[in-house]
Amino acid sequence: MQQRRELDQVYTNRKLLNGQLDTPKWWLPTVSILGVVVLIGVVVIATMINKGLGVTGLARPVYWGLFITTFVFWVGISHAGIMISAILRLTQAEWRRPVTRAAELLTVFSLLTALVFPLIHAGRPWRIAYWIMPYDISRGIYPNIRSPLIMDPVAISTYLTGSTLFLYIALLPDLGNLRDRTTGWKNAMYTVLSLGWRGNPRQWKMQTVGGILLSALMLPIFVSVHSIVSWDFAVAAAVEGWHSTIFAPYFVIGAVHSGVSAVVTMMALMRWLWKWDDFIRPEHFDALARLLIVVATGWLAFTFLELTFALYGQDAPEIALREMQMFQWPWNALFIIFFLTAYAIPVPMWLFKRVRTNIALMFWTSILVNIGMWLERFLIIVPGLARRTPFVYTWEAYRPSAVEWTIFIWSFAWVTFLMLLFSKFFPLVPLFEQKESQVFTEDVMIGRAKIPAIIREAD
């Protein structure tokens, strides 16, 4: 796995800082286009807040639609950072090194984006303030703290705070590096941000210990976030298809599947755009694809259990819902696309090393996974509400409006826009991790074979 490649430090600095010290030609046009899309999205959001939720396709009984699906999707994507950075750091997986920063970034930006959806979905978002400062507890306006809907923002904001801290601590050595290579206002900015980083042994020790501690602390938060999101649905006994005990781990493993795939997409883009062929190498894609095979198969097992135990109760409404999900138009088409894209196409392909080490194929299969995982959330949320039940007299099916689709597209443009903006000021591949991997790997001769080896601390 560790296909050692000798790279000197000057070359590493020059290549990995090329986004900050120079501006690639494609950067400004891309950021400008994305900026326009973001702006359109902001205008649409403002219009929706002004006019009210009537401009969306949401109507009883489908009161949770595209917004909540996309919210769950982005929370899922945010699981990339901790999975790649914290878990692989704790398990000392060497191949994680070039990927960590991108994964952490994806966590922070996707969480920021996810938070927007419940906020705008509230219709009158300023009323969220009552949750923080309730003005009349005696009238029951104080939020019910036992509700997962309250636990949700708490968990997500804790996760966001922790992830930002995690990202920042890992950035410190690189900020010191940039400070020493810039002048003017940039130098002033990096001087402030690098917190006096000099790279002395004490600072390295603190940074390492800080990273390990944060990794361990972030893990329970990582698990709790998507579990709580799942309980938004699972504790609602009235909606068929939602009241399932498996939802928490099912959502978490689905989030990891989706998040790690998003990291693969991002790595391929980084390799192509910044020409980092020496740093993001086929073996990194190979390792991620192997991880994805395991995660995706675990996720499939949970999907199987979810479906099995939905039918296990043999309750007529539950059976009717599953029949609708799988056999009625248009849900059946979505279900087939979901299954094909989330598992049936990518995973068998990843079984072949040729595919795992082919960056273009990995890019497209990882995108397929996220199409599938978005559809999975849509199929969990909407059909359960849309099924015709007694005393519901709305006969129209839910159709997301243009406003909803625009805001949906805005979310992708927004995350990409933030990423590109970040890349202008901070390296997307951690320099110090890259150099550390050079120090900690060497080749050893075993018999006549040259084998890559890693230096590990002695226990």
């Binding site: 390492t208 579990s227 009241h243 928490a248 781990p249 226990d459």
Partner: protein, 467 residues
């Protein structure tokens, strides 16, 4: 440069030096002969207890074979034994697939538990006969078999357990070929003859090694799939479907994860005693305990996560189903078992294993592992005893309307449980007389791939990672 080796230098000591390959072969093969008096006494004691347990099982079947409500403890025991004997070989597989070097010397000890799966099957036999049919008096109870033939849970569960046993033994055998060849070349008497017969002409050519690794990977993957499937069947057919209205999608995974937890705990205990009483400190390094400790800690956290994920949905749901399920399994007749299980399976191990010093040692690790096994047995009693205590005439209802009284174990149950657990220990101990408790070739491979080195001012290990 940031380095964990430097950051924690003060806490670490030098890794043990590598042992010469010839010495490894000689010393490990010698462990199969010359059992100490204490070993013999324990083997006899466990053997007698096993026989008593089997006799008690037969007598119970004769005496109480027509009343399924009295078989909850045997069902709990079957589930417990499946967890330990099925979960332990996964220690031999999962880290190998993840290419963890520390696990190489200890894979054999984990694989030996496969043979103890015989104990699970013996205990299962009467239970299969007593398991209520899918359809009684024209009514079909809720199971994962839906419209399948009546014999499905009885037949397929038994078959899958037998398949698990066979695959486990096949996994063991695939990895043991080079050691049988070592026995052929370096042992004497019946062990040499056995080695010659089972080594199947092993001389260690490139092709043989490639085939060996392919077989380990193939049987390992297959074993994992069957293990998950068996856990799914046992937990639903012998647990969940016995209770009307208990619909818990996470329960099979909960059963599987706690099985892995028990398997790792079982391996830690076996490692501890082998290391201490067979004088294998040279080969079973603290590194193995440290890594198993982390695995055990993670599994302990996963257990509470799975438990809580299920509990909160029932707790918030408040439907008749949900309330009855909580009343039966947690708040009602099994409340003491619930608290005991919670303390022993989660709180105490969590508190013990969270400390680095504990995981770097052996004594507290083995204490934590024993606590986990006791906790798991109690937890299995909490889930399976009340499930089997539901009278046959209530099993078809939509939900449980009358919560049964607590069922206490009778003398048969106590003897069967003692016998079943003893039988597992007995089989594992007997297997150490047949083949070295540590895999000779994997210890040699470990020595070849990991070399202790000086790194800056500290100690480190250089670990080669062949593809």
């Amino acid at each position: 440069m940031a380095s964990q080796a430097v950051a924690h230098e003060a806490e670490h000591h030098a890794p043990p030096p590598n042992v010469d390959a010839d010495v490894v072969t000689r010393e490990l093969i010698a462990t199969t002969t010359g059992a100490s008096g204490r070993f013999k006494a324990w083997t006899w004691g466990l053997g007698i207890l096993s026989v008593v347990g089997i006799v008690a099982l037969i007598l119970k079947f004769i005496d109480q074979g027509d009343d399924s409500t009295k078989w909850g403890y045997v069902a709990a025991l079957v589930s417990f034994l499946l967890s330990v004997t099925g979960g332990a070989p996964m220690v031999a597989m999962a880290p190998v697939m993840a290419k963890a070097n520390w696990v190489r010397p200890i894979t054999r000890i984990a694989a030996l538990f496969s043979f103890a799966g015989v104990a699970t099957i013996i205990m299962l036999i009467p239970l299969v006969a007593i398991l209520p049919p899918l359809v009684t008096e024209g009514a079909r109870r809720r199971t994962v078999w839906y419209m399948a033939p009546d014999y499905s849970p009885h037949f397929w569960t038994t078959l899958s357990l037998v398949l698990l046993l066979i695959t486990g033994i096949a996994l063991f055998y695939s990895a043991a070929l080079p050691d049988f060849a070592s026995m052929r070349d370096h042992s004497t008497g019946w062990r040499q003859r056995l080695g010659k017969r089972l080594a199947r002409g092993w001389v260690g050519t490139d092709v043989q090694w490639r085939t060996l690794r392919m077989r380990i990977g193939m049987f390992g993957s297959f074993y994992f799939l069957i293990l998950v499937f068996v856990n799914f069947l046992v937990s639903t057919d012998f647990g969940q479907s016995m209770v009307p209205g208990w619909r818990d999608a996470i329960f099979p995974m909960y059963h599987t994860v706690s099985g892995f937890q028990a398997g790792v705990a079982g391996v830690v205990i076996a490692l501890y005693f082998s290391r201490k009483y067979m004088k294998l400190e040279k080969y079973i390094h603290l590194d193995a305990f440290w890594s198993l400790g982390r695995l055990l800690f993670a599994l302990t956290l996963l257990w509470i996560y799975f438990f809580y994920s299920s509990f909160i949905v029932f707790w918030y749901g408040r439907s008749e189903n949900d309330i009855a399920t909580l009343d039966l399994l947690i708040k009602g007749p099994m409340i003491y078992a619930f608290f005991a299980g919670m303390i022993l399976l989660w709180f105490v191990p969590w508190w013990i294993l969270i400390w680095n010093k504990v995981r770097r040692g052996t004594a507290m690790m083995v204490v934590g592992s024993f606590v986990i096994l006791i906790g798991l047995l109690i937890d299995r009693i909490r889930t399976f005893v009340p499930a089997w205590s539901v009278p046959g005439d209530q099993i078809h209802q939509k939900w449980l309307k009358v919560i049964p009284e607590t069922v206490w174990p009778d003398i048969f149950d106590i003897l069967i449980m003692a016998g079943g657990i003893s039988l597992v220990a007995f089989i594992v101990m007997m297997m150490t007389r047949v083949i070295p408790v540590l895999s000779v070739w994997q210890v040699q491979e470990f020595n070849l791939l990991a070399k202790p080195i000086r790194y800056m001012k500290g100690h480190a290990t250089l670990v080669a990672k062949p593809d």
